[in-house]
Structure formats: structure tokens, C-alpha cells
Symmetry: C2
Subunit: 345 residues, 2 copies
Amino acid sequence: MSELKNDLILRTLRGENVERPPVWMMRQAGRYLPDYIKLREKYDFFTRVETPELACEITLQPVNQVGVDAAILFSDILVIPQAMGVTVLLEEGRGPILPNVISNKQDIDALITNEVEERLHYVMSAIKLIKKELNGKVPLIGFAGAPWTIFCYLVEGKGSKSFDKAKQFAFTQPELAHVLLQKITDVTITYLKAQVKAGADLVQVFDSWSGMLSPADFNIVALPYLLQISDALCTDAPVILFPKGSWYALPQLSKSSAAGIGIDWCITPQLAREMTGNSITLQGNFDPSRLLSPIKEIKKSVTKMIDEFGVNKYIANLGHGILPNVPVDHAIAFVEAVKEYSVKS
Amino acid sequence: MSELKNDLILRTLRGENVERPPVWMMRQAGRYLPDYIKLREKYDFFTRVETPELACEITLQPVNQVGVDAAILFSDILVIPQAMGVTVLLEEGRGPILPNVISNKQDIDALITNEVEERLHYVMSAIKLIKKELNGKVPLIGFAGAPWTIFCYLVEGKGSKSFDKAKQFAFTQPELAHVLLQKITDVTITYLKAQVKAGADLVQVFDSWSGMLSPADFNIVALPYLLQISDALCTDAPVILFPKGSWYALPQLSKSSAAGIGIDWCITPQLAREMTGNSITLQGNFDPSRLLSPIKEIKKSVTKMIDEFGVNKYIANLGHGILPNVPVDHAIAFVEAVKEYSVKS
């Protein structure tokens, strides 16, 4: 493998002093990029995910066109349910549908948990191809959904405003819920280890729906599984945990084996630093909607954000995925503002 | 007017020592109650809202059937856009649709801001009728949507996951956004004052979408208008502000003229007390999905919640509206657990 020419994000995750913060954007590969939209018109979602050449092309687009400091694998968190034998349907422009939801012990027993790497071979092939094409330009981020978020989709069968069906399952059948969460966790650990073996330089775990949980319930159904993943992976590669909306867990997460924690925009950098005792790398937390502001405003806000987080132990990012209606030059302005920061400071 | 036989919530909002916390549930009048569902089959939504006899009947159902310590007017936050001349459509089981969205100065200029009381006369008639029928049994809560939340609906025309259209309006045309927010605020103040004059014993302001804002943006587009309403109303009746998800604003809100602050379940009672210096009455914060737990669990969790908030300066409630699929006996168990608390303590 080629040596990395830009290892800023890895040095940041090790807590080293850096010249400026690294920058990337969640969902940077996709929907707002005209070249992606052209591919979307030709190939359906799972063809794009399952064809290494397409996944590679899409992964590289923001590296070459927007100038981010890290690539993130183009894939989907729902490949895990697929690998476990669950059907996932995805219509363009609509959320995912899992027609056969998990509702009892039989359903859980029927889930497949072995041969994860074989079943998701196309992901490892994509990673190898991406690493070759990147040729050391920037690191590659692998990823997976967190167990609680995957649990939500398995039980609800689709997105939801309150995920009360998933919560009801967890509240009324706690033992069974833990069996399912543990199965997802085991598969996810195997999957992420395979990603690292294939070439991913770091991994991020997305708990998109953890913010729907009370702090007490987060400690029961989300945190233990996030920590298991982090503990299992941390000797393979740096791990970033992103339990969106779960700001309340920052003190606990800062003491975990994770190298970084993602935060959304509903907490000030100051408070996030205070709650983590400035002991861990934080990633975020620009409001994705703020990328719809005029470019001048974006640049001003980014500078302010870095001022508040500080240059070290900080990865500049959005607080959630980039919105489809963001003009590309606004995304570029976000990245440029971070890269220009060192001059100002 | 009859003297109140149960003024527990009013004493609590004044900060007095009480025998036990008062209890009610957001959205307590409606969707989970079989008698409400029967009415829904006969009359469409706006008929139910605009017919004082129906609004009265629905408002009283949870008082008589679930035993809450306060009634809340059956109505909708979108009567304000209607009073301002904006069409609101509501199909059963789907979110509201405002076909003519606000997108420029002309649209804002065209909004009606006078004769609010006349245009919403049916609300005041309903309040008078409810007060008569309650005959002092429990206090009546009036309410309105907060300016930012109404702004979201006026600009988006419907619900949204990220409200990025509303945010884009606020970020790219801040002066115009403030003109619109001020118009909504003025109308809302007039409306809430009319509710109090008609008989509402206290009022609550629902900022359902404030939690989508960063702390900095909350301070620009949400907080000033919440405070204006609270300042204008606080000499008429106690005001509860409920900016859902905006836990970060607790220190500022605790210093406001409001008598109480609503919080959702994503913050521990301990931290909420700490952030408000125990200086203001807090309302909440049971996860509505937790009402799907077994009754025994509900009762245990409610006791724990009161233990953590303390008996005084506390209104037991959910952290958001009750879900349609909650069994009535679970709602009753929630209320009973609060009422039984004094025995335990």
C-alpha cells in the first residue's frame, strides 16, 4: 500500500498537535454532486453499492472535486441486515423498507451471523480498489451503523418519527432485545475488522437514532454495544463513535476506547469540550442547513467554529449528512474555510 | 367563575410547596382515547376544533376518564396561520399542508394581523364553555405554537425532517425572517391574551421545532420571540415555555418571566435542575414511548422520575405528546403513579 500523503485526520485522532484541523463531510459522496446524480440515473442504489468500480468512483468524487482530507466508503448501513438475511428495499428518493420485520425469537434465531465477510465481499473489493485509486492521497474511512440504529430498522421495517415500535420491543422484551442487539454487534465487529483488513484507515459507527433515547435507555440499549465495537476495533484502527443527538453521553464516551466522538450542532463546542474534559478528539458540528447560507457567512461560521473547538483534537465536519440541495460551491467553501484557517490563526 | 377545587398546577407554578406534583399529558385530549376516535369518525378535524361543543367534549374526556390535574384546550397551533389568512389543510392521519407558502416580502405583507380575537372567536367560545362545564374541577391550559414553529410551517408548507427550507429563509433573508417572526409573535400575544380573558388559567407555548436549531441560531430566531410572549403574558397568567429539544437554553429560560419550562426526555432531571439552578418549575419529561412498557414498569419509572425532580416546582408530564397507540389503562397508570407518590414519600 502507498504511504499516506495526507494523514492529518489520523494524527488528529492520535491527539497530536496539527497545523490545521482535517475536514470531511458526512454523506460527502452522493446526492449533492452532479456527477453522482448522473450515475444515479444509470444505476440503481444497490448496483451502485455492490459494484466496486461504481462505489470507488463515487467515493473518490468528493476527494477530487471538493478537496476533503478523507474519503469515506460509499455504501449503506443496511448492508448489515442484508448480510444477516433480511430483505432491504430501497426506492430512489424514499427511505428504506424492510418488508419482513423482526418481531419474535424465531425471527432472531433465523438471522444469519456467519460468513459476513463473504456475504459482503463487494465491500472489501470496493475498499481495495479505492485504496489503490487513492494511491495514498488521503485516508479511507470505513463505517457501519450502530446496533441500536440497525435494531430500529429491523424492528420498525422503515424510518419513523419516534421509533416507538422499536422502543416498545426493547421495553417489553428486554432480554430478547439484547439477544438481537448482541447478534448485530457481533456481525458488525466482524464486518468492520474485515473493512480494516481490506484497507480502511479508520472506521466510524453511526448511531443515527440514539438521540431518540433517554439518557437512561441509551445506557441500556445503545452505549454497551457502541463500547463493545470500539473495544474490539481500537487495536485495528482508530474508531469514531457518532451517536447523533446523544450529547448527554459525552462524559462516558470520552472515557471509552474510541479515538473520536462525533457531535451534532445542538451543542456548543465549549460545552462539548467541557463535558469531555478536552480529553478526546471531537468531530462536527456544523448545521448542514447552514451550508445553504451565503458563502461569506459559511466561511465566517467555519472560522468561528474552529476558534471555539480549537485546532487540535478536532475534525471539522457537519453535524449530520450534507443535504441534497446544497450547491457544490458551498460545500467547497466549507472545506476551503477549514484549509485557510491556519493562515488566520 | 367557580373557584378552583384543584389548583395544584397553579400553586406549583408559583413555586409553593405542594403535597404532590400535579400531572397532565401533552396531547391528552385526543387520538388514544376511544371516545375521541368515535367523534373523529363523525366530524373532520377543523369541525372538531371550530365547534365549541365538540372542542369542549374532547377537552373534558381526559379529565373525566384519565384523572389529570389540568385540562388543555382541544385546538391546533395552526389556527394562527389560518387567522393570518393562510390556508391550512389537514387530512386525517397525515400532517398538515399549507398550499400557499410564504417566500417573499409580498407574502408577508399580505398576512392579516388584526381582528385575531374575532377570527378565532370559536376558540374563546370553546374556552368559556369548557370553564363552565369544568365548574372549577381543574384549571384550563390555553396554548399556542411558538413563532419559530409557526414560521417553519408557513415557509415549508408542511412538516419536514430538517426544516432546511425554513432555515434557508432565516439564514439568507434574516431581516425578512424577523419581520415574519414579529408578525407571528404579535398575533400570538393577542391570541393568548384573549384566551386568558376568556378563562384560560395558564398558557403553554409549544416550540416543537426549536430543537432543530443550533444554540446560536436558537438565540436569534426562537428565544427572543418566546421571551416577548412570556413578558407580555406573565402578568395575565402563568406561562409555560416548551422549546422541545432546546435543553441548551435552560439557563437562559430559567431567568425569564416564564413560570415553567417544559423539557423532553433527552436530559436527566438532575442536569435540568442543575442548568436551571432549581429556580423555576420544570415540566416533563417521561418518554412517551415508555407508556408502551408494562404498567408495573411505568409506575416504577414515574416514581423514579419524581424522586429525581423532587416534589416541588415540578409538573409531571410526558416529554412530548402521547402516542396514538398507548392503551388507556397505561395512561391512567401514569397519572395514578403521580397521585400515589405522596404516600410513598
